[in-house]
Structure formats: structure tokens, C-alpha cells
Point group: C2
Chain length 321, copies 2
């Protein structure tokens, strides 16, 4: 035997060009990396399944980028700087080589945009839906990582960007809602924007932070449980994009979907009163909006309308089981 | 909303007890870890799909342990010391809680045996076969990692333990071969033995190393390509366990399956002539056997019988595509 068989040729053609120095050209059993001296490592892993986390007919390019970005969003939530990633791909056996080329091309774009390299991974075949898993490494100053557990009663609740676009974008792609002219909502579903610079800027300002991936209300509940506080938010303060606002204006019931739908990949954080100027000074193109406050009491999320009446939501957010 | 839904309860019940200090009780978006000062990090990731990498009716306990051990084997091949791991699990939606408890119990056993903790991960549902992915972290002295690219013409080819048990064990479990009385072969398929101590002992002795996962002949071909040498091995020197030897004695055609089958998770390495005493002195319970040598020439693997005649093999090893 002298030629590498299909699996290894696939890796050489499409994934080797993505490897950084630590990846050893994907020729070895493992990557070797000297971590930045004097920094703590930050590590997260997320998986995506075709038909569950992305639509099977989404463009290959954005599937790779979304996989990387949902993990980058976890680094953003900790205030970390990206370093590299490992990826395992379970592809259907009849996958098209051009599909993998586009998938890898998307990853190459985002590697450049966010400053990280592929370190290693595994490529296998599956008789089921495409299943992708990515582990990301970042770094942060020791003790500086933003955690979920630091919110205190009296802290204000803030969120970056806009909420609900991802879930409405999924609905647009599934034909349930009318698309906006610019394709903004569908693009937000396919290509979330990890708030890395903003998250790094929150270090020293925010008392607690996390990213919103499973629905604002449910994720706020996680933050409440980790911090031992309750939360009250005002639905009308939750920032909607113009495209989401237009859909909600036409069908006010969609507001609940925005608050619970998930796939936002925005940062949800707690800051003490008086932090507004510091938050606004972080700059970049990420806006932040104050949507409520934490109170003493057992972990619980209350959503109120502008008159203070509680809004009952059908569910808090997404759960796989 | 005040209660965590199913997915988060599952994680809390089964996976939180596996988390080490860096895992932050799996309550945050990411793990935070201070890497051992003055050491290089070693990182690998492997995926397993039900029906492809393990049998759907394998015990849950050994599935978790195999997932961890195939990754530990990659660390062993680099001479690294285990540090921690992240895991993503795509489970069928109707999975039994007792199954996950046994799966996590197996991981707990191996965490203790091999000295590492869970750092984080993701749990999702899949409509397809169970798909598991694990990323492992280890560490090694800077510059000491064993690589595939260092073999030179004249170096001897060595392999740890015994070859072929995993593939024969799969055949036993599928009813194709008679089981050995002790159940050794099936156990070797379900529970490979990562050669961590032996791999660490090879640092400074071996010129190149890798683990045998996709078949001895194919993996030796990878080592040849990475090193720019050719290899000659003598089939009769390849170490077989007593159970494998008994099957091969009954059907000599099974020797080819042993040489190409995969799922061995033994170490294949190159050492200069005269290294035998140092190799034997590594000790532990891992034996090593010299099976051939490297020659100058384009990358190629030749398998010979004891009379020097070349043995033609139907294929070199396993490829997913």
C-alpha cells in the first residue's frame, strides 16, 4: 500500500490548508501547542446536527462558519481571546467533495476574521444526519474570565445587539414568515455574530455574563441559578432589529418567540448600577441595551409588560430532551 | 420559568459529577484552566458513531470508556500526560436515563484510572445514530512530543502489545468467529488499553511514533509518508495474543485481517538499532516487539513471509470514505 485512501485524501485536500503551526499539518496523532505564558486557557465545545441546529439545505459555507461562531460566542461570553480549535465531522458517506470544499472555505474566511487556526480533529462517516462537533480554545488573564455566578440583587440586566433575529430567520427560511427585503433575518440565523471584542471589553465591568443560545428567558434563568438571584425584565425593552420589529408589529404574538426562541448568540450580562458609561465606552459596532434588573429571591425570571403586568410565556427556551 | 428543563437536568445528574475544578461544575459557557507552566499542550479529538465505531448493543459503560481511551491512545502516541477532556454527545431523543448513567459511570472509572477530569462539552439530540466526540488535552515537555516524521532508513520498526485482537473481537461479537473462553478478544474490542506510560517512556528513545487505530499496514504507511522512508515488516513477527493466535492457527487467512483490521490502539514506533535494551527497560506491563525495519525509498509498506516472499494484502486498512 502506498497511496492514502479516501478519508485521508479528503483531510489533506480540504482541512490541511486550515491548520496552523500547532496542527502539525494534521499529520500527527495530536496537535502540540505552547499556551500563551501567564494566561488561563478557556475551552468550550458545541455540537450541531443537520435538521436540528441547521437546515440540511443551508449553504455549506455558512454551516462551517456557524459551527465556529457558536463556539466563538462561548469565548466571547467569558471575555476570552481565540486561540485555535479542533473539529470532528461525521459526514454522510456520499457527501460531495465540492460541498466539503465550500464548508472548509467558510471556515477559512472565519479563521482569518477571528484570528485562529485549526489544530486537529477527526473525519468519520455516518449513516445518519451530518453531525459536527467543535472544541475551541481561547485565553484570558488569570481570574478575569466572565462567569455566570456573579450577579447580585440590584444589578442591571443588559443584552448586546438584538434578540429574536435567529429564530425569526429560521421561520423565514422555513416559509413561516415573510422574508425581509435585505435577507437580514435569514443571515442572522445562518451566520451569528460572536461578540468577542465586546465580551473582552466587559472584563472588569460586568459582574456576570453568558451568551444567549437557547432563548433569552431560559438562559437568564441559568444565570439566575448560578448567581442565586431572581430577574425581572420588561419585554418592551428587549432590543429588536428593524426586521424583527416589523414582523412583531404585524403579529404581536411573535414577541414571545423572540424572547424564548434561541440562536441569538448575543451576550447577556449583569452590571452594577452606574456602569452604563463604561459599557457604552467599550465601543466597536456592538450596542448594548438595559432590559431589567436582578432582585433578591429564589432563582426565577419574570417578564413584564410596560404596565408592570406579568407576561406568561409558553416555554422558556430550547431543550433537546 | 424556574426549573431547568430536561437537557440541563441530564447534564447535572450524569456529567456534572465528572467535572474537575477547571470545568466550573459545567455551569458556565466554557472551562477555565491554568495550563501546567513550562509544558507544551497536546490536543487530539476523535469521534465515534454507533454502528460504525461501536456496536449499538455494546454496554454503555464500555462505550464511554472506549471513547475516552481512543483519545488517550493519541496522547500516548505523542508521549503526553493526560490533563482533561471535553465531550459532545448526540443522543437519540428517547435515550434511557439508566443508559446515560452507565455511560457516565464508565467515564468516571477511567477518569480515576488515567488521572483526568471532564472540562466541558455539549449534549444534543439526534434523529440518527448516537454520535460521540471527545477532545483530549495533555501535556509534554517542550520539544519532547513523539512525532510521525522522524523515522530514518535503518531504524527498526516496533509495536507494543498485540495486534489484531480488536478486529477479531468485533468478529466474535458479530458471531463470525468462535469466542475465546476468557472473552479476551471481545474485551479488547470494547476496551482498548492506551499505552500511556509506555509512550511517555519512549520519549528520547523512539525517533517516530503513532498509535495503530486504522490497521497496522495502513498506519505504518502514514508513518512512512510522514518520514519519507519505506518499511518492510515480516508478518510472522507481528505479535499476536494467545487468543488471536489460536484463531489464526485455525484459519491462516485471518492473519491478513489482523494486519489490516484496525482498532488495535497499540503504539507503532521507530527506534535506531541498539535501542532494544532501553525499550525493554521502560517496563510496566507493556511488551514491545520488533517487526521489521525502515529502508530508503519512496513511502511504501512491504509485508513479507518468513522466507522473504511478499504477501499481497486485500487492503491496507480502514477508511471512512
Amino acid at each position: 500500500m502506498s497511496e492514502a485512501p479516501g478519508e485521508f485524501g479528503l483531510i489533506a485536500r480540504h482541512f490541511r490548508p486550515l491548520a496552523g503551526p500547532g496542527g502539525l499539518s494534521l499529520l500527527d496523532d495530536a496537535a502540540v501547542l505552547d499556551p500563551p505564558p501567564g494566561r488561563s486557557l478557556v475551552l468550550a465545545a458545541d455540537a450541531m446536527v443537520a435538521g436540528v441546529h441547521f437546515l440540511p439545505d443551508d449553504p455549506a459555507e455558512t454551516i462551517g462558519r456557524k459551527l465556529l461562531r457558536v463556539n466563538l460566542s462561548d469565548l466571547a461570553a467569558m471575555g476570552a481571546v481565540p486561540l485555535g480549535y479542533l473539529m470532528t465531522t461525521a459526514f454522510p458517506r456520499d457527501i460531495d467533495d465540492a460541498w466539503i470544499a465550500a464548508f472548509a472555505g467558510g471556515l477559512a474566511l472565519d479563521q482569518q476574521e477571528f484570528g485562529l487556526d485549526l489544530l486537529g480533529g477527526d473525519t468519520v462517516a455516518t449513516p445518519g444526519p451530518m453531525t459536527l462537533s467543535l472544541t475551541i480554545l481561547g485565553h484570558v488573564a488569570p481570574g478575569a474570565a466572565l462567569r455566570r455566578g456573579g450577579a447580585r440583587a440590584g444589578d442591571e440586566i443588559w443584552v448586546s445587539g438584538s434578540i429574536g433575529d435567529g429564530m425569526l430567520g429560521l421561520g423565514v427560511l422555513q416559509g413561516r414568515f415573510a422574508p425581509d427585503a435585505a435577507g437580514f433575518l435569514a443571515a442572522r440565523y445562518r451566520l451569528p455574530q460572536p461578540r468577542l471584542g465586546f465580551g473582552q471589553g466587559l472584563v472588569g465591568i460586568a459582574r456576570a455574563a453568558m451568551d444567549v443560545s437557547d432563548g433569552l428567558v431560559q438562559d437568564l434563568g441559568h444565570l439566575c441559578r448560578a448567581s442565586g438571584v431572581a430577574a425581572e425584565i420588561e419585554a418592551g425593552l428587549v432590543p429588536l432589529s428593524p426586521a424583527a420589529g416589523a414582523l412583531v408589529a404585524g403579529d404581536p404574538a411573535l414577541l414571545a418567540l423572540c424572547l424564548t426562541g434561541g440562536d441569538d448568540y448575543e451576550l447577556l450580562f449583569a452590571a452594577p448600577p452606574g456602569a452604563e458609561a463604561a459599557i457604552r465606552a467599550i465601543g466597536g459596532d456592538t450596542a448594548a441595551t438595559r432590559i431589567g434588573h436582578f432582585t433578591a429571591g429564589p432563582p426565577h425570571v419574570t417578564v413584564r409588560d410596560k404596565n408592570g403586568a406579568e407576561i406568561a410565556l409558553p416555554r422558556g427556551g430550547w431543550s433537546h430532551f
